[in-house]
């Protein structure tokens, strides 16, 4: 599936990313912004999960491909979530800065990830719909400082984003890519059969073996 660059000076890595968070906080919108640079005001709820890919250039010699699972966030799908984060290298946990309860949900997801997901998983917390608070400060229900403090404490990357205006969206994903272990093997225990596909670092053949705990 992957066609890594053959040149030895080029690094190509592939990561699995999962988006989690309450329904309607803007997970799909963030992905749509990231992958297609579009925004849709009347987006319908995700049913099940959507799978997308996006490749970004970190620098001249490094290309990172994200395989993205955009989950639905509805309660009835809760039990299926482990399937999506089980082999993930990174996760974006999203809340809506105009809905205080959505941060609680996000915290619960972070907890679950830290307990159940890959040990080395890179987690980013995204407070979405920043544009709403920018336009109308009274709409903000979660203070930046509060969320930031929590993120620091929990060891998460943190951004306030707007899928609508694109603010901080690219930055969010780039920061994740930079934090991912490009030079070491990332995820553990991934198998082809399970669809796991961790860092696939060509040009550094040793890295292929290195991190494998098999």
């Amino acid at each position: 599936m992957s066609h890594p660059r053959s040149s030895t000076s080029q690094r190509f890595a592939q990561f699995k990313l999962v988006l989690l968070g309450e329904s309607a906080v803007g997970k799909s919108s963030l992905v749509l912004r990231f992958v297609k640079d579009q925004f849709d005001d009347y987006r319908e709820s995700t049913i099940g999960a959507a799978f997308l890919t996006q490749t970004i250039a970190l620098d001249e010699s490094t290309t990172v491909k994200f395989e993205i699972w955009d989950t639905a966030g509805q309660e009835r799908y809760k039990s299926l979530a482990p399937m999506y984060y089980r082999n993930a290298n990174c996760a974006v946990v999203v809340y809506d800065i105009t809905q205080a309860a959505s941060l609680d949900k996000a915290k619960a997801w972070v907890k679950e990830l830290q307990r159940q997901a890959n040990e080395n998983i890179v987690i980013a917390l995204a407070g979405n719909k920043l544009d709403l608070a920018t336009a109308q400060p009274s709409k903000r229900a979660v203070e930046t400082a509060e969320a930031e403090a929590y993120a620091r404490e929990a060891g998460l990357l943190f951004f306030e984003t707007s899928a609508k205006t694109a603010e901080n969206v690219q930055q969010l994903f780039t920061a994740i890519a930079r934090k991912l272990p490009l030079d070491q093997q990332g995820p553990r225990g991934l198998r082809q059969g399970a669809g796991g596909r961790g860092v696939d670092l060509k040009g550094g053949a040793a890295a292929q073996q290195q991190g494998c705990n098999c």
């Binding site: 709820s45 999960a49 009835r76 089980r86 159940q116």
Partner: protein
């Protein structure tokens, strides 16, 4: 190869399982008995306006049309009702593909099955899945509102209903108003109420406690005041009935038909002011809505949600699927496929081309594949399936609605992995469906019982699409739209297939249903509209001068699939109302025409103009138009003539159509599909 999960025995087990898995046939519901029952047609449908209180029996109304005929070797005709699903339950828990700890699996959500190795655990898992939701079980005061309701708040008929004719094809009227919540939200109360009541059709789903589950129109503040009335209607029917299947009741006021479908713990109510909609039609629509809910949460989940929680708010479980329910409400009343027993519409395709795709479906079949489907907008291109299992028309109807009537999946390049229950296949568990629109309008749908199968199905899709491109069946070009269609299919359909013969037969439009296969074929709708409803003056007055509209026949070979979808739905709704009228003629004694076999209707009033007639000069339409339904052993043929074409000529035309369909048999039907 250890993962941190190894410390978690459940996960570990599931991994081991999924490595070993292949689909076990035992898991699936058995085939129904091999039989070809004569279609049993309802015999006592009320003519409109029907008597004030009509109690229809499900025996004749609810069950028949969608599964009128079973032909086990056919792909879609299989009848599977609750009975056979029930039989399957004993096997469900032993399905190897469902791991423990997976509340979404068939195994664990079958708490009603208590076999030694799965029942109890299943119950636990289900509780786990629902716990968060069930714990809260809040009382949100909806019931409090019920007392204040008056019967006069019935979701009554519209003011214009009396002079409305469903053949007034130039107006907006036939297409069922789609949901317009935003409008309603913004408008003042009075206006919203008026707007709410002005809809021609309403659909409500309520729980036994009278809690709203779904309403086609209106938001809570509009709907809740009506709930008392709705509950009253429903409960007036829910006296214990002699037979358990007698769960459909219907009555009519002079303008409005009410039909209730009681499927505890849910109650479904439809109202209609559309002419020629009978209790049968409303019940078929309601039953598909019910299936949609099951498709989201399965029967065991539905049952257990209300068990000991009379007041449970089901909206919390079906959240996010309202647009799907709404699109059913919007599209079913005008869907020819739905009207004709959810018959599957087949893409006209050269047999050798279909064979290539069928062969590839088998060749590239992923180990855990259950069903593989290639779909064009609202049409089946190819299917593969296990020898012993077929797909039920109503399950396919739900799938088509999901894929083509909602924008959720249609985006090219996004892949989807969706737990979905196909209720007629097995209402007790989820299947997992891989959906990918690999080019505009064309979808690859791969169904598995294994929730971990995503990557293998994805690989299968890659090979399939690559193969179809190599075979020249799908354009290799990178640009979207235009020629990115299964070329052979579309070309044949336009050039050879339908349009030219139709033009010479004096027939405006027709549909043929293969009754045994439960499949339909029809030409592209003539007089199709642009996306925006054309203004009267934009229509050429000469269009009906004996020629098919240029739009439908020639040029625009590569018109894009999405366009076709919109426009065909739009125009076909006008024809559907005529098909429905014919259907009602044939199924309602005393019937006109030859008994039970053929029915004619004449469409001649000014308001009964067909799409191509300009509304600017309705009076100038002097000649009548005939429409006919001919029921034969293998077929039902529906046809609308061009103006001035006589009944004799129509009968001759129908013979031509039948001859054509027989000649094209291999291209218009899919018999069996690819099996493995």
């Amino acid at each position: 190869m250890s993962t941190r999960k190894d410390t978690n025995p459940k996960e570990n087990t599931s991994d081991r399982h999924s490595d070993l898995l292949t689909v076990s046939e035992d898991y699936f519901p058995p085939l129904p008995p091999r039989s070809l029952p004569a279609p049993q047609l309802p015999t006592h449908l009320p003519a409109r306006p029907p008597p004030l209180s009509h109690r229809a029996s499900t025996a004749s109304l609810a069950a028949k049309a969608t599964t009128a005929i079973s032909l086990p070797e056919g792909v879609y005709a299989q009848q599977q009702d609750g009975v056979s699903s029930g039989n399957a339950s004993g096997n469900v828990t032993t399905a190897p593909s469902f791991s423990e700890g997976d509340a979404g699996s068939i195994r664990s959500i079958a708490p009603t099955v208590s076999t030694a190795d799965g029942g109890e655990e299943g119950r636990e898992n289900l509780e786990m899945m629902l716990s968060e939701i069930l714990e809260e079980d809040r009382e949100d005061g909806i019931l409090a509102g019920l007392g204040t309701l008056r019967a006069s708040a019935l979701p009554r008929t519209t003011t214009e209903a009396d002079d409305y004719s469903d053949l007034d094809l130039d107006s907006d009227s036939e297409s069922v108003d789609s949901h317009s919540g935003d409008e309603e939200d913004a408008a003042p109360e009075e206006q919203r109420l008026h707007h709410f009541r002005s809809h021609r059709k309403h659909f409500f789903i309520l729980s036994a406690a009278g809690k709203p589950v779904f309403s086609f129109h209106g938001n809570d503040s509009i709907v809740i005041p009506h709930l008392g009335a709705i509950s009253a209607i429903i409960s007036s029917f829910s006296t214990p009935s002699s037979s358990t299947t007698d769960n459909l009741q219907s009555f009519a006021t002079p303008t409005t038909l009410f039909t209730v479908l009681s499927l505890p713990p849910l109650y479904l109510l439809a109202t209609s002011t559309l002419p020629y909609e009978t209790p049968y039609h409303l019940s078929a629509q309601l039953s598909l809505l019910h299936s949609q809910i099951l498709s989201t949460i399965t029967t065991p989940t539905l049952q257990s949600a209300f068990k000991n929680r009379f007041n449970f708010d089901l909206r919390r479980l079906i959240g996010g699927t309202e647009p799907i329910l709404r699109s059913l409400c919007t599209h079913l009343p005008s869907s020819t496929s739905h009207l004709l027993s959810n018959a599957l519409c087949i893409l006209h395709l050269r047999a050798s081309h279909r064979r290539i795709i069928h062969n590839m479906l088998i060749q590239y079949r992923a180990p855990s594949l259950l069903y593989g489907l290639i779909l064009a907008p609202h049409k089946l291109v190819a299917v593969c399936r296990p020898k012993r299992h077929s797909l039920h028309p109503s399950d396919l109807q739900l799938l088509f609605n999901l894929l083509y009537n909602t924008p959720t999946f249609a985006e090219v390049g996004t892949e989807h992995w969706v737990p979905l229950c196909l209720p007629k296949f097995n209402d007790k568990g989820f299947l997992h469906v891989y959906v990918c629109f690999f080019t505009e309008g064309l979808a690859c749908v791969l169904v598995s019982a294994d929730k971990e199968a995503f990557y293998q199905l994805r690989e299968m899709r890659e090979k399939l699409v690559e193969g179809m491109k190599k075979a020249g069946l799908v354009s290799k070009g990178g640009h979207a739209g235009k020629d990115m269609i299964i070329k052979a299919g579309i070309l044949e359909e336009k050039v050879k297939g339908y349009d030219n013969p139709v033009a010479t037969w004096g027939v405006r439009h027709w549909v043929v249903k293969e009754r045994g296969l439960v499949q339909i074929t029809m030409p592209r709708c003539p007089g199709r509209m642009k996306k925006k409803r054309p203004k009267p003056e934009a229509l050429s007055p000469g269009v009906d001068a004996g020629q098919i509209t240029p739009d439908a026949g020639s040029s625009s070979t590569g018109s894009n699939a999405a366009d076709n979808t919109d426009t065909e739905v739009d125009t076909s709704s006008r024809y559907t109302s005529i098909w429905r009228r014919l259907w009602t003629e044939v199924h309602t004694p005393p019937t006109s025409g030859v008994k039970g076999k053929i029915a004619f209707i004449t469409i001649d009033s000014p308001s009964e103009a067909l799409p191509e007639s300009s509304s600017q000069a309705p009076q100038s339409i002097s000649k009548q138009r005939q429409a006919l339904l001919h029921v034969t052993q293998p077929y039902e043929i529906y046809a609308i003539g061009r103006k001035g074409v006589t009944r004799d000529q129509m009968i001759r035309a129908v013979r031509e159509i039948v001859r054509w369909v027989k000649r094209e048999e291999e291209r218009v039907w899919v018999v069996g599909g690819a099996t493995f």
